[in-house]
Assembly symmetry: C2
Homo-oligomer: 333 residues x 2
Amino acid sequence: MIDLAQALLDGNRRALARALTLVENESEKSEPLLAALFPHTGRAWVIGITGAPGTGKSTLVNEVAKAYRKLGKSVGIIAVDPTSPFSGGAILGDRIRMRDLSGDPGIFIRSMATRGNLGGLARATRDAIRVFDAAKFDLVLVETVGAGQNEVDIVRAAHTTIVVEAPGLGDEVQAIKAGILEIADVLVVNKADRQGAAHTIHALKAMLEMGHPSSRAGMLNHHGRVMQIENGTPADAALWIPPIVQTIAAEGKGTDVLIAAVESHRQHLEAHHELAQIERQHLRTELYDRLRDSLMARLLQTLPPERIAGLVERIQAREIDPQSAVQALLSGN
Amino acid sequence: MIDLAQALLDGNRRALARALTLVENESEKSEPLLAALFPHTGRAWVIGITGAPGTGKSTLVNEVAKAYRKLGKSVGIIAVDPTSPFSGGAILGDRIRMRDLSGDPGIFIRSMATRGNLGGLARATRDAIRVFDAAKFDLVLVETVGAGQNEVDIVRAAHTTIVVEAPGLGDEVQAIKAGILEIADVLVVNKADRQGAAHTIHALKAMLEMGHPSSRAGMLNHHGRVMQIENGTPADAALWIPPIVQTIAAEGKGTDVLIAAVESHRQHLEAHHELAQIERQHLRTELYDRLRDSLMARLLQTLPPERIAGLVERIQAREIDPQSAVQALLSGN
């Protein structure tokens, strides 16, 4: 394992691929590897990109990766597919992407699907970010399909979170925004040339103003012009207001502006000493997650399986309720 | 708490509302309540309804509820909104629904949003199902917005899972289906009068055939005719093949066929003794979830907060890796 870690730190791509497979499979072997890599982490900038299906998120991720490559930055992409608990989905997106980005040694793409266990995907994503980080990638883009709570947990491992919207996705999507907006550092209206784009931007502005009543959102169109919202007042210096960036990812338009917005968010966090605080929060969450898993693993080692099976039967017969069964197990009765 | 439980068992609606609030808030008080209610549970049929935004899922849930009411069944509805970790989304859907269904004492609707903690919503939903069950509701409809892993976990508490699709939601939605299909007991193509419906049905059939190669899916249109797929062979008696039901929920078309499909699934489970097995699996999952939570709560009671904070600082300084920190905590060093 130390050999694998050293090869990865030395920039060996096959070692990177193998390490990513180990963390994706939540293999036992991944723990010593992660421990060996950990001192070499904390440098990469992690960008979470999320949004509803149909927003053109994958195309946007490609364009963002290409734009960072032009700036000489190396980019790791983790395409997370929580909608595919068993198989299939992630591979499709991967294949489409590979056609476009393959052959560039400064880009490495990995798709990850759940194996069906709750929280497993968020854990594997967190560890994969760390692997890319140790392999000295400047940026890690974490893309999630969908916009549920799990995606929220996944992008919570990011430094900058981009939420992608698009015109004309119906009223139900509107309802989604309310929640997802609160995690956005940068908002993108992709397919900005489509009918209804003005309406989408208007709705986002209205929601941002509700969420940040003390100031007004700045807005960038895909030509890079900053458009101040009517009666705009300068934002509080310490308060980050998510800018709204318009893109047409399919034509490569607006991604330079988007990257400028990400860099501006990064400078904001660094200037206001928020970065260390964010990292501390991430590590704290990780410590709790790992504690929970280790406690459970330790208990299950000491419990005979037939003890659990017997209790489940008694619960099913309504002889004991589930929480009382837990207390019986923990008190050793 | 015993008074609240008794009032709920006696059919008091205010007690029901209060109990649902207790479980949604994951209040300490909910535990004795749930323990008191538990012996009176295990009767309700739980239907999970999920699908991507834009499929018209909420309208369909309304129609299903109304159709069951016509059959004299009482219906509890839990509208779960995992996309709203903080506020907002769930309430919107609730209000729209209330206009349509309010005033009927045989229907009770509760929206639930996450409070931001992973797994909390799935737990609260599980407990809310139990509250409705104890309050003698014949059916509990659990609707989730979106189609991510969390939704999958939520509908795993159901007896019958309905996955809703609709024509023309784009290619990315297609990718979602691969994963979500595997949890479907009944497939619905809503908005079946829309352009592209035939294409959607065709794609679903193709996926079903990949998933169930030993036989062919039966298909019901919204007039209730069973359409055998070309070269259709009779399904293995013990194997349930998800039927594809076409609906136009906005016009109330096809819901009677959908309900017939649900009832047919129920009879299948009962006839093949799969029901007890499904319940045992649900209870086992619950026991594990509760064990994990109780173990963590017990540990945190014994750990001074500054011990955790000190370790997080050392992790951040890269003096110790996260898993070694866990081992230090658990070994008491």
